[in-house]
């Protein structure tokens, strides 16, 4: 089981790829932990996160098998 990660919009440009996949390390409990694990840096300001296609927070728990998405503030409509 892995966690699949997606990046959208400006964030995808900045990260340089559309997604990642990782087995959940024991040190990763939340979406924020996951970001720090993948990028060796704190989550950028105004970062938004969705877990399994629902809005979540950086302190929301993540589990193996989850679909996690990181993106900047939305600008539809």
């Amino acid at each position: 089981m892995t966690i699949s990660i997606q990046y959208f919009a400006r964030l995808r440009d900045e990260v340089g790829r559309a997604g990642d996949a990782t087995a959940k390390p024991d040190t990763v409990h939340t979406a924020g932990d996951l970001w720090r694990h993948l990028h060796d840096s704190p989550p950028p300001p105004r970062l938004m996160v969705a877990i399994n296609q629902r809005h979540a927070r950086l302190d929301s728990p993540v589990a193996d098998g989850d679909e996690v998405a990181f993106f900047p503030p939305v600008t539809g409509g």
């Binding site: 959208f8 919009a9 969705a50 629902r54 900047p72 939305v74 600008t75 539809g76």
Partner: protein, 145 residues
């Protein structure tokens, strides 16, 4: 409830009229509609085109959730939300919100609320193409209330 994404131009008034064919209009005294279109300017810059990125799957879920919550909060009988994705040219429709109710206040308030939540919660991102060929991500929506 109907939520639709269009990757090609669509006619918002045709959509509204089509939906009304299946509605009991003699019960629905009030219809409130908002149509948002692509302007050829933004922040004093001339914009040539727009790309609307979205999160397939989550987008539809979010739009449906927004409409269901409006239907729970106001006495509205029908809602229609349509949103464009992909490459868009100036004057083309980006978003349609239509609400039918027996009462005008419910129709008006639910329509406004759905629009604001679509703008602030549904996972869409606009990238503008300026006249000099450069592109920029739109950083934020203008506040709505």
């Amino acid at each position: 409830m109907a939520v639709r994404l269009f990757s090609e131009p669509f006619d918002p008034w045709a959509l509204v009229r089509e939906r009304e064919r299946e509605l009991p209009l003699e019960k629905l005294g009030a219809t409130s509609v908002f149509v948002g279109r692509m302007r050829d300017f933004n922040d004093d810059r001339t914009v040539q085109g727009l790309f609307l990125e979205h999160y397939p799957g989550m987008t539809e879920r979010e739009l449906e959730r927004i409409v269901l919550e409006a239907e729970a909060r106001w006495p509205v009988d029908a809602c229609e939300v349509a949103h464009r994705v992909g490459a868009v040219n100036p004057s083309e429709t980006l978003v349609l919100v239509a609400v039918w109710s027996a009462h005008r206040i419910a129709a008006r308030d639910a329509c406004a609320e759905i629009l604001e939540r679509v703008k602030h919660e549904a996972p869409f991102w606009k990238r503008e193409r300026l006249v000099d060929g450069s592109e920029r991500w739109v950083e934020t929506n203008t506040p709505g209330s």
